[in-house]
């Protein structure tokens, strides 16, 4: 079976992740949606790596993981700070950005 199928799988996962970010009000769940999108990209990278027969794509995916780890650390810290300040992690709550 052609490894390109995994790319299709990756797009589906990406779409689910994106929809989760848009739909869920719980900041942690939305954040997990972001993680899923990143992982979908990783899957695509690995699939491409397999298609090309090179492992550079895997290195890229590795880097993405590192970045994602850093992002998780900071993102969760933000969520905790938000929770401390407002006693909630609903994304609809902080509307100070309203112009």
């Amino acid at each position: 079976m052609n490894p390109i199928a995994f790319v299709y799988l990756a797009t589906v996962l990406f779409g689910i992740g994106a929809a989760a970010v848009l739909l869920r009000r719980n900041a942690i769940i939305a954040f997990m949606g972001v993680e899923l999108m990143l992982n979908a990209a990783n899957l695509a990278l690995v699939a491409f790596s397999r298609i090309h027969g090179e492992i550079d794509g895997q290195v890229m995916a590795f880097f993405v993981m590192v970045v994602a780890a850093a992002e998780v650390v900071v993102g969760l810290a933000i969520i905790i700070a938000l929770f401390r300040a407002r006693q909630t992690i609903s994304l609809d709550e902080p509307a100070e950005l309203k112009g």
Binding site: V21, L22, A30, L91, D92, P94, G99
Partner: protein
């Protein structure tokens, strides 16, 4: 001494600064310091004059380099002084008459709390005028020119607590600015034509430039001269300038300011020599002004305004003479010199009369003052005889020469200019005699509170000195053509030309007209009863009394269109320029209001916008648009 001429400018200027900066501390002795500065300038000027007398006629031109003023690219302007017979003549006139006026002011301004400032301004005036006449380039001359304008503004508006006096000062300043534009244009044209503004370079190269350019320069210079010398059509400020204290009027009319225009024309003789057209215009302006001033003078009841009109008329004579070319330059300056003496004397006399009459200026309220103020009567009478041109008083020697010169030439010009000068002499005799008789003769028509008395010595001494000059200066200078020879290095040698009428005929005609004018005035104002209020005027009198409606004309011709043009420009500015700017602003504001709706503050809405944008980008890639 010739190298020390810079002191002429520096001393009065320093004195002026000191008087202004020291403030009240100098109140007690400030006027004496001003007088001392002026006297010192006169001493330096006299020393330079004596030294120059000892030189040959050819080497009487002395340049004093002061410093390099502007140095940039093609333009290098050196600040330097040019000491030659012409400028020395002016220096002597300005410093001598100026000093006398300073002395006079000590008495005249005695009760004014701001006398110190007055002397500071007088010194500034003298310094600026000396800079004007001593400058060796048009640019430096312009500095003095503007300095004179500033000083005259300050002095005319000296009593600026009265709004109309302040307005008069503003008027003088603004009208002078119009003339200044002429000088600036002239300088621009000169720089374009010669690449320099120094007299030396310009006069050395006048032959290399086309006549058209020279005519343009000449006309621009004429505009400048009309502004400063109150010639037609920029004459309107002079009458109102009487708002200043009388010594100021004397200074403006006799020694400084109004003579600057004549000086400018004569100094630029090299240019005017080569352009017939410009000369003709100068002469025409002079002729028009001399008649106009004389007619206005006939109708004025205000003694100072009548004298002002007389000044206008006399300067008109000088301009006419200057416009006649080489034969007239020397006579223009000659008349300027004698006029400086007798007009200063008469102004000081008028000031003395006002001083004794509670600052009354209406001549219909004077009369029979000859007994109350003997010195004033005698000195004023000498000035009167001089301006009438009665021999052997000084006006005769200078004015008669101008009338003779006006008759020289070919075609219609000698007849027009000559007759204008001739008739002007008759009119002058009439209005000056009218003034004299109304003031000093006839019956007393004083107001009840008037107690005429003779002025203190500080005021009478200058008047006596000036009246001596009015009496004898003309004869002294005209004997053996002393003055014309003296000025020859500057104005050039004038071939003698025969007038279209024989000289004795002209002289006789002049004297007859003067006699008729004076006699008429005697019958009307000397012998007959003078009503204390002016009778209902005829049309001509009305026109003359209102200065030929010069202000209305100016308003209709210049001010109204100017106002409308300004309004249009303001409207255009508001509608187009501001409209564009404000439109941009309000447009951006509306755009912002529209975009604001996307700033809902909802994080998920932002995420949705990002997603839609990404979808758009991907779509563009897929569809091959990008």
């Amino acid at each position: 001494m010739l190298d020390l001429t810079w002191l002429l400018i520096a001393v009065p200027l320093a004195s002026s600064l000191v008087l202004i900066l020291l403030g009240k501390r100098a109140d007690a002795w400030g006027h004496w310091m001003g007088l001392a500065a002026s006297t010192a300038a006169f001493v330096v000027g006299a020393g330079a004059f004596l030294q120059m007398l000892g030189l040959d006629a050819e080497s009487r031109e002395h340049a004093v380099h002061l410093f390099t003023w502007i140095s940039g690219g093609e333009l290098t302007v050196d600040a330097g002084l040019l000491v030659d017979p012409l400028s020395i003549t002016f220096v002597l006139l300005v410093t001598f008459v100026g000093t006398l006026i300073h002395l006079y002011s000590v008495g005249y301004m005695e009760h004014d709390p701001r006398r110190r400032i007055f002397f500071a301004y007088l010194n500034l005036f003298v310094a600026a005028m000396l800079l004007l006449v001593l400058a060796d380039s048009y640019l430096l001359l312009f500095v003095g020119w503007e300095g004179v304008g500033l000083a005259s503004y300050l002095l005319i508006g000296f009593w600026n607590h009265k709004p109309e006096y302040a307005t008069a000062a503003n008027k003088a300043f603004v009208v002078n600015r119009v003339g200044d534009v002429g000088l600036i244009v002239a300088m621009g044209l000169m720089f374009a034509a010669f690449g320099s503004l120094s007299f030396e370079t310009v006069f050395a190269h006048v032959g290399d430039v086309s006549t058209g350019q020279l005519t343009a320069i000449g006309l621009a210079l004429l505009v400048a001269a009309t502004g400063k010398s109150a010639q037609f059509p920029l004459q309107s400020w002079l009458g109102d300038a009487m708002a200043g204290p009388t010594p100021v009027s004397a200074l403006i009319h006799a020694a400084t300011m109004v003579t600057a225009g004549v000086y400018l024309i004569v100094r630029s003789a090299a240019i005017f020599d080569l352009t017939e057209t410009a000369r003709l215009v100068v002469a025409a302006v002079g002729a028009i002004t001399l008649l106009m001033g004389a007619i206005i003078g006939m109708a004025k009841d205000d003694i100072k305004k009548a004298l002002a009109a007389s000044t206008m008329s006399q300067i008109g004579y000088m301009m006419l003479a200057a416009g006649l070319g080489p034969i007239g330059y020397a006579f223009a300056i000659f008349h300027l010199l004698t006029h400086g003496f007798f007009k200063a004397g008469m102004f000081l006399g008028a000031g003395s009369v006002m001083h004794g009459m509670n600052d009354q200026v209406d001549m219909r309220r004077f009369g029979a003052l000859r007994t109350a103020m003997v010195v004033t009567w005698v000195t004023f009478g000498l000035g009167w005889l001089a301006i009438l041109g009665v021999p052997p008083f000084s006006g005769f020697w200078s004015k008669d020469k101008i009338i003779e010169s006006a008759f020289v030439g070919e075609g219609w010009q000698p007849w027009v200019f000559g007759l204008a000068a001739l008739i002007g002499a008759g009119l002058t005799a009439y209005y000056m005699s009218r003034l004299f008789f109304m003031t000093f003769h006839g019956k007393a028509r004083w107001t009840d509170d008037a107690h005429p008395h003779e002025s203190p010595w500080t005021m009478t001494v200058p008047m006596i000195v000036l009246s001596v000059g009015s009496g004898l200066l003309g004869w002294f200078l005209a004997t053996g053509d002393r003055f014309t020879t003296w000025l020859e290095p500057v104005t050039g040698h004038a071939e003698h030309h025969e007038p279209v009428l024989a000289v004795p005929v002209i002289m006789a005609l002049t004297l007859v007209l003067v006699a008729i004018g004076a006699g008429l005035a005697w019958f009307q104002y000397g012998r007959a009863e003078v009503p204390t209020t002016a009778p209902a005027p005829s049309l001509g009198t009305m026109v003359a009394r209102n200065d030929f409606y010069q202000d209305s004309v100016n308003r209709a011709v210049f001010q109204r269109p100017g106002t409308h043009a300004t309004r249009t420009l303001v409207y255009a500015d508001a509608a187009l320029v501001d409209g564009a700017v404000n439109g941009t602003g309000s447009g951006l504001l509306k755009l912002g209001e529209f975009l604001r709706r996307f700033q809902s503050g909802q994080v998920r809405s932002y995420a949705a916008l990002i997603l839609i944008a990404v979808a758009g980008l991907i779509a563009a890639v897929v569809l091959g648009v990008l």
